[in-house]
Structure formats: structure tokens, C-alpha cells
């Protein structure tokens, strides 16, 4: 990465390379105009320098064709930038379905990460190469922004809402992870290292149970290591969700959560809502906001009772309930 005089960041994913091509195009266009205009200014300044105080140059009113010419050409060049940039952005905005999902929680001033198998890290992130990695992110306090320069991706983590980014590292290596949204005193210490490992190495590392150099250990770490879904299941049970939300049947107070994720539910007011992360989160914190048709608003709100990490585990578990049921139907 460092070759005497650092000048260009590593491109560690296919997407990063595509962004660099677009960057190259922009560089060519802007350099052309910058150099061209500066040369024109220098040449004019020399050629038309005032020779005597008696100089009375002839004024030119202007030229409409010229104005149109130098508005339309730059505009077309800009349109290329717009279409190219937007296309790239849109294509990259949704993670592939087979991504490994990592949960990231920003907190003043650290990144808390949980791997799909439940392993936790602080600040650093270990991922396997050649696998799409999706980060589902939120924040516990202020807005942070998760930034991996060598992947050319960045996304704010906003309290009260989930955002996601994804990348697919090409080969093993280490990269910077930075927080780019000013978040307080130790903003510049909210950094970590992304370690891309060969898949086999990752399996070994993640399965080892070693917690790396985590200094802030959470209570759950004492027991045997559980996957995110398993931890979510534990939260589901200990919070008492299972009483009303598993099994279904007429006696149940709440809708069964098996297989609901990703479907549309009809609400009491007749509107429909897509069951996604945000809806589940909202329904846990403020159940009465959107009541599914056929049920009463009897569930107590859990505002302030479930920490963000547990919330993410819960959601992961509810998602897994849907995956189990759709797996049988043979959906792609």
C-alpha cells in the first residue's frame, strides 16, 4: 500500500475497480478543461498584453452559438458521469442474496461487530475473501459512518434505523475501517482494521472461539459460543416473545412469526406493510403503531428494554424463521 509516496488507495473489490474507472473518466474530463482553460488564459495574457496606454481594443458583444456550444458539450459530458455514476451506485445498493450477514453497531467511539456464527469483535472486522459480505448497521447514539476506503463504500449508521452496505473482497489483505461522520471527542479513534482472510483461514479463525483482542467483553461471552440466530432465539425466549408469537392458532394473542419475514401483512386499517427489519423493530418498540389485522393492540412496548445488539439478534432469528419455512417451498 505504501510505496514511498502514497498517492492512490488500493482497490480491493471488483466494485472498487469499477469506481476507479469512473474516477479515471472524471479525471480525464476535468484535467482537459482545467489545463485547456489555464493555457488559454496564459496565452491570451501574453498575446494580448497591453502594449501602450493608447490601446483601444474592439469590444465583442457575444455569440449565441458559442454559448450554446459551451453549455451543451459540458452538459453531455456531465450526463455521462451522471448515468455511469448512478448506474454503478444502484447496482451496488443491494447486497446479493447469498451474502454473509454481519451486524454492525456504532457506538461512541467503537464499532461492535457480530459474525453470522455469533463471534464478536470490536472495531476490527475479519471476513473471508471471495464471499459477498453484507453489513447491516445501526447506531446506539449519534450518527456514525462506516467507511472502507479500499472497497469505495461508505454508509451512515443512523440511530433508530438500519442501513446496509456490502462488498466482496478479492484476496486476503488488510484495509482501513474509518468513521467519517463526526461523532464526538474520539471520532478519529473510531477506526479499525478489515482483515480479509482465505475462506479456510476464516473458518478456522471464526470457529476457534478466540475473541481476538476484545477488551470490552459482554456477558454473553462466558458461555459456549452461539450463532446470531441462536442468540436471537435465546432473546426471543427470555423476553417472552414465544408465548404469543409461535405456533399460531385462534388462542394466540399475537400473529405467528414463522415465515412472515419478507411477506406483506394487512393491517387493521386495511393498508399493507412489508415485514422487514424496520417494521419488526418498530413492532417490538411500539407495537401499537401498525397492528396486523385480526389482532388486538395488547402487546406492551419494549422501548428502552432491548439493546441494539439484542434487537439485531432478534431480527436475525425472526428472519431465520422465514428462511426455514420458505426453504421447504423451494424458493430461490
Amino acid at each position: 500500500m505504501n510505496f514511498g509516496f502514497p498517492s492512490f488507495p488500493e482497490a480491493a473489490s471488483e466494485y472498487a475497480k469499477q469506481v476507479d474507472w469512473l474516477y479515471a473518466y472524471l479525471n480525464i474530463v476535468t484535467t482537459f478543461f482545467t489545463v485547456g482553460i489555464i493555457i488559454a488564459i496564459i496565452i491570451f495574457s501574453i498575446v494580448f498584453a497591453r502594449k501602450s496606454e493608447e490601446d483601444r481594443p474592439k469590444g465583442i458583444h457575444g455569440s449565441v452559438p458559442l454559448e450554446i456550444f459551451w453549455s451543451v458539450i459540458p452538459f453531455l459530458l456531465c450526463l455521462v458521469m451522471f448515468v455511469w455514476g448512478t448506474d454503478l451506485h444502484f447496482q451496488n445498493s443491494k447486497a446479493p442474496a447469498d451474502s454473509m450477514e454481519f451486524l454492525v453497531t456504532g457506538k461512541q467511539w467503537m464499532w461492535k461487530v457480530q459474525h453470522p456464527n455469533g463471534k464478536r469483535e470490536i472495531n476490527d472486522l475479519h471476513v473471508p475473501a471471495g464471499t459477498p459480505v453484507k453489513l447491516t448497521m445501526t447506531s446506539e447514539d449519534v450518527i456514525h459512518s462506516y467507511y472502507i476506503p479500499s472497497m469505495r463504500i461508505k454508509r451512515d449508521t443512523v440511530p433508530g434505523r438500519y442501513t446496509e452496505i456490502w462488498f466482496e473482497a478479492i484476496e486476503p489483505g488488510t484495509h482501513h475501517i474509518l468513521c467519517t461522520e463526526f461523532c464526538g471527542t474520539e471520532h478519529s479513534r473510531m477506526i479499525g482494521t478489515l482483515t480479509v482472510m482465505a475462506p479456510a483461514d476464516y473458518q478456522e479463525w471464526a470457529g476457534s472461539g478466540a475473541m481476538g483482542d476484545i477488551t470490552v467483553a459482554s456477558k454473553d461471552d462466558s458461555g459456549p459460543m452461539l450463532s446470531v440466530v441462536e442468540q436471537g432465539k435465546a432473546v426471543f425466549t427470555e423476553t417472552g416473545c414465544a408465548v404469543c408469537h409461535i405456533g399460531g392458532g385462534p388462542a394466540q394473542l399475537g400473529p405467528s412469526l414463522e415465515g412472515v419475514f419478507g411477506t406483506e401483512e394487512e393491517l387493521i386499517d386495511g393498508t399493507k406493510v412489508l415485514v422487514d427489519e424496520d417494521y419488526i423493530r418498530e413492532s417490538i418498540l411500539n407495537p401499537a403503531a401498525k397492528i396486523v389485522k385480526g389482532y388486538q393492540p395488547v402487546m406492551p412496548p419494549y422501548v428502552g428494554q432491548i439493546p441494539e445488539e439484542k434487537m439485531m439478534q432478534l431480527i436475525a432469528y425472526i428472519k431465520s424463521l422465514a428462511e426455514e419455512s420458505t426453504a421447504n417451498e423451494g424458493e430461490i
Binding site: P6, L26, K51, R56, W70, F75, R152, V158, S188, R189
Partner: protein, 543 residues
């Protein structure tokens, strides 16, 4: 001041402090703004110098994290709200607008004075917040950090911005009315100097944009003081709404900070090419186009803050669109040089420097309008460099350019050309050395507002700090040159540059308290009529 000239002018007809503090003369108010913003500029610069020094090394050496954060916040708040926004509009605009329009004063002189007092009140509140503990939110005041988590006097600073906002609104209102209703007989819209057009566009933004930041600041104050929850996610508030409201003003605000600069450059380029400006109508109307489209692009500040990607797409294309009128201006200025009679005076050096730097600043804006690239560059040093190229390379250069150009008119004295040229060239070199490395740093991923950073970026940071030293030296030379000139002989003469415009052809240097000894009547065929021989007649060279 020199006793050589005894003619009555706006500077010497009364000299008590009271006569300054209670003046309703637009020229004196302009000078008062000049002094005030130089004080703010100095304060902001010292903050910048301190943290630039700190950034020489990757680790924290001379400052605490907390102090560093307070310093860059102070730099941002002071420079943007108390230097850049009033720099050209309130100083040169106040001084020149009535002169250029051939009228005795702005439409509401007392309101004008009230604006200055509001400005100073806001400035004192912001400085007070800095002294009484500082603020560490950054000039953007992003919630929920500013409303819930930040240290220091956010309420006081926000109130300072609120008050200053009204100063800006009232100044804008005053200018719009003055331009509409107070023009001298015969001075129709398309004979106006382009500086007036630029001021007009700026003033419209000031009147229509600033109230939104005012109400946003009120909400911040309520949120922080009373915890009403409007931006607090725990209560259902949405921090992203704050960003929308904030940028609804603050993006147009960067046009407040650059459009008047365009006006200055148009004047200077025409004068020292001794040639009417190329494509007058296009330059004039492109200012209005920028002001108008500039209101619809704010969302490009939210590309990564979980804004809808469709909204992102719309804001992206609109952001490209606003570049076109700007390109038109640059091409027209260069075309004006063609076939002219170019004289390299200090203002001309600044003006050509402006074109070069603003070009870089403007074109790097295209990177930030491109969605995929902006995701990478957002909140990195690339943005810092872009912003400084536009604001320092653009507006500060335009401000210096205008100050050098109208200095003889304002104070009746001429500065030392050689020293001023040294300052201009030093500032140009120092500026590029400071900020060009930051583009490279930005693409490498260096985030803004970082106190410490990974070691491999140190080389570029050292370069940048070295450049800042050169820049500081340049500004010192500039200040000394201008200050010394005030004590020189008042012999600049009525029209030392042989320029068009009522302020040169009809008013003395310095002007009479009532601007014109007799009401001017406009007879020119078109604006910038440099073929008019009367410009070069008797009073051209010697005053």
C-alpha cells in the same frame, strides 16, 4: 490620516466614534463590516493554523481531542457565518451598490445599520460560546450529536447563527429593493454592472434561504434546551430531517458565498482587458439560474446518510445542471480576454488566479455530484479540498481582488503595487500547496475532522501544513501592505483604472457623504463601454 487632502468626503466629514456607530451611510457601514470581518477572519485563521500544525504528525501532540474539535468548529462557524457570507455582499456590496446604481443610499439605511448590529450581536454570541467552553459540533450542527451528546454551548452558538441569519436576510432585502427601485434614470437592467446582477441573485437567496436555517436553529435550541425530541431518535425524531432542513439553506448559502465573487471578477476582467464583457446577458442571467437551481440540489449532501436512492438520483442530476451556468461564466470570462488589452495589475492577478482555482474547485464538484464517486469521497479530505478551492480560491480571492480594485475608491489611496503583487502570488502558491495534497488524501480515504490519522498519510499532511505557512506569510504581506497604504497620500484620483461604472466616472475618491455631487444621469450605450473615449480623458491618470 494624511492632511494633504481637505476635500470633504465620507471618511472625514465627521470623525467622532458616535458618528461611526450611529451612521446610516452605506459607505461607512461597509467599512465597519470590513473591519469586523477582518477580525473574524483573523480569529478563524488562527484556529486553522493551530490545527494545521497539529496535523503535521499522525498522533495527537499539541492539542487534546476536545480542543482539536473545538478549534475546527470555531474555524468553520466563524469563517462561514461571520466571514464568507458577509465578505463581499456586506462589505463591497454595501459600499458599492448605491454608487453603482447612482443613488444616494440603499433603500432602508437604518435597517442597514440594524443589520450590522445584528451581525455583531450574532458574532459576539458565537465568540462568547467559544470562550465560555467552546463548541465541538462542527459548523454543520448535525443532530443528534449537537442536540443531545455534544459538549459546550451549542444553544448560544446556534442563537448566534440565528441572529446573524436575520442580519443576512435584512441585508438581502435591502439590496433587492435598492436594485429594483433606486436605479438612476436611464440605468436599465441590461446596463447594470454585473456586480449588481450577482448581488441581486445573492440577495434573493439570502431572503428566501436564510429563514429556513433560522427556524432550524430554533428547533435545535428547543431540542437541546427543552428536550422536545424533534430530532431525537429515542422519541421518534429523525436526525435526517435536520440534515434536509440544514442543507436547504446551507447549500444555497455556498452560492451566497460565491455569486458575489463572480460579480467582482466580471468587473475586474472587463476593466483590465479594457473590453466590454463577452456575453453580458449570459453572465447576468446565469447568476439568476445558479441562484434558482441552487435551491434544488441540497440532497447531494445526503447521498450516504440513508436518503432514498431515488431522491439521490434527482439531486445528482440537478447538481450537474447547476454546473452549466457556472461553466458559461468561466468560458465568457476567458473569451473576454481574447482580443483585449490586458494589464497585469494586482486585482487582475487575483482575478485570473480566481478563474484557475475556481475551475479546479468547480470541476471537483462534479466528482461529488456523481453518486458512486461521492459515496467514496463523502466526508473525506476531498470534500475539504473542494470546498476550500471554491471558498478560498474562489470567494476569498474575489474578496481580495475586489478590495484591491476598489481600495482607491474606498480610501482614496493607492497601495504599493509591488508588495501587493508579491502577496497575491504568495497566496496563490501557498493556497495550492495547502489544498492540492488534500485531494489526493481524500481519494485515499482520509476522513475530515480527524485529529489523528494512519501514518502513511503523513507526507501529504506535512506538505499541506507547509503550504499553510506560505499562505499565512502571503496574508501577512497583504495586511501590512494595505494597512501601510492608508497612511499614504490620498492621490488615487477619481478613476485610476480608467474603468466604467458610475462609482468611477461620477463619484470622487473617497466619495462625498452623499455619494454624488450632482445626481448622475446614465448615457452609456451598454455596460462596460470601454470604447467610450471620455473614460481616458483628463481625469484618467491624475486626480
Amino acid at each position: 490620516m494624511s492632511e494633504a487632502v481637505t476635500a470633504k468626503n465620507y471618511l472625514n466629514h465627521e470623525s467622532t466614534i458616535k458618528s461611526w456607530l450611529l451612521t446610516v451611510d452605506h459607505k461607512r457601514i461597509g467599512v465597519m463590516y470590513l473591519i469586523s470581518i477582518i477580525v473574524f477572519f483573523t480569529i478563524g485563521s488562527f484556529a486553522a493554523a493551530l490545527f494545521r500544525l497539529e496535523l503535521m504528525t499522525p498522533d495527537a501532540n499539541i492539542l487534546q481531542h476536545e480542543t482539536y474539535n473545538k478549534l475546527f468548529t470555531m474555524h468553520g462557524v466563524v469563517m462561514i457565518f461571520f466571514f464568507l457570507v458577509p465578505s463581499v455582499p456586506a462589505v463591497l456590496g454595501n459600499f458599492l451598490l448605491p454608487l453603482m446604481l447612482g443613488t444616494k443610499d440603499v433603500a432602508f439605511p437604518r435597517l442597514n445599520l440594524a443589520s450590522w448590529y445584528l451581525f455583531m450581536t450574532g458574532g459576539m454570541l458565537a465568540l462568547g460560546a467559544v470562550i465560555l467552553g467552546g463548541i465541538d459540533t462542527g459548523w454543520t450542527f448535525y443532530t443528534p450529536y449537537s442536540s443531545t451528546y455534544a459538549n459546550g454551548n451549542v444553544i448560544m452558538a446556534a442563537f448566534g447563527v440565528f441572529v446573524t441569519g436575520f442580519s443576512s436576510i435584512l441585508t438581502g432585502l435591502n439590496f433587492v429593493v435598492t436594485i429594483h427601485k433606486m436605479r438612476a434614470p436611464g440605468l436599465n437592467w441590461f446596463k447594470l454592472p454585473l456586480f449588481v446582477w450577482a448581488q441581486y441573485a445573492t440577495s434573493i437567496i439570502m431572503v428566501l434561504g436564510t429563514p429556513v436555517i433560522a427556524i432550524t436553529m430554533v428547533l435545535i435550541i428547543l431540542e437541546r434546551g427543552l428536550g422536545i425530541g424533534i430530532f431525537n431518535p429515542a422519541l421518534g425524531g429523525d436526525p435526517v430531517l435536520f440534515q434536509h432542513l440544514f442543507w436547504f439553506y446551507s447549500h444555497p448559502a455556498v452560492y451566497i458565498m460565491i455569486l458575489p465573487g463572480f460579480g467582482v471578477i466580471s468587473e475586474v476582467i472587463a476593466c483590465f482587458s479594457r473590453k466590454r464583457i463577452f456575453g453580458y446577458e449570459f453572465i447576468a442571467l446565469s447568476s439568476l439560474a445558479i441562484a434558482f437551481i441552487g435551491f434544488f440540489v441540497w440532497g447531494h449532501h445526503l447521498f450516504v446518510s440513508s436518503q432514498s436512492i431515488y431522491a439521490g438520483m434527482i439531486f445528482s442530476i440537478l447538481s450537474f445542471t447547476v454546473g452549466i451556468p457556472t461553466a458559461i461564466k468561466i468560458f465568457n470570462w476567458v473569451a473576454t480576454l481574447y482580443g483585449g488589452s490586458i494589464k497585469m495589475t494586482t486585482p487582475m492577478i487575483y482575478a485570473l488566479g480566481f478563474i484557475g482555482l475556481f475551475l479546479v474547485g468547480g470541476l471537483t464538484g462534479l466528482y461529488l455530484a456523481t453518486l458512486a464517486i461521492d459515496v467514496h469521497l463523502h466526508d473525506t479530505y476531498f470534500v475539504v479540498a473542494h470546498f476550500h478551492y471554491v471558498m478560498v480560491g474562489g470567494m476569498v480571492f474575489a474578496w481580495l481582488c475586489g478590495l484591491h480594485f476598489w481600495w482607491p475608491k474606498m480610501f482614496g489611496v493607492m497601495y504599493n503595487e509591488a508588495a501587493a503583487k508579491v502577496a497575491a502570488i504568495t497566496i496563490f502558491i501557498g493556497f495550492n500547496l495547502t489544498f492540492f495534497p488534500q485531494f489526493i488524501l481524500g481519494y485515499m480515504g482520509m476522513p475530515r475532522r480527524y485529529h489523528t490519522y494512519p501514518e502513511e498519510w503523513q507526507v501529504l499532511h506535512v506538505l499541506s501544513t507547509a503550504g499553510a505557512t506560505v499562505l499565512a506569510f502571503g496574508f501577512t504581506v497583504f495586511f501590512i501592505t494595505m494597512f501601510v497604504s492608508l497612511f499614504g497620500k490620498k492621490d488615487a484620483g477619481r478613476n485610476p483604472w480608467q474603468a466604467t461604472g458610475l462609482e468611477w466616472t461620477h463619484a470622487d475618491s473617497p466619495p462625498d457623504p452623499h455619494n454624488f455631487l450632482e445626481d448622475p444621469k446614465v448615457t452609456i450605450r451598454y455596460a462596460y463601454d470601454y470604447e467610450d473615449e471620455s473614460l481616458y480623458a483628463e481625469e484618467g491618470k491624475e486626480g
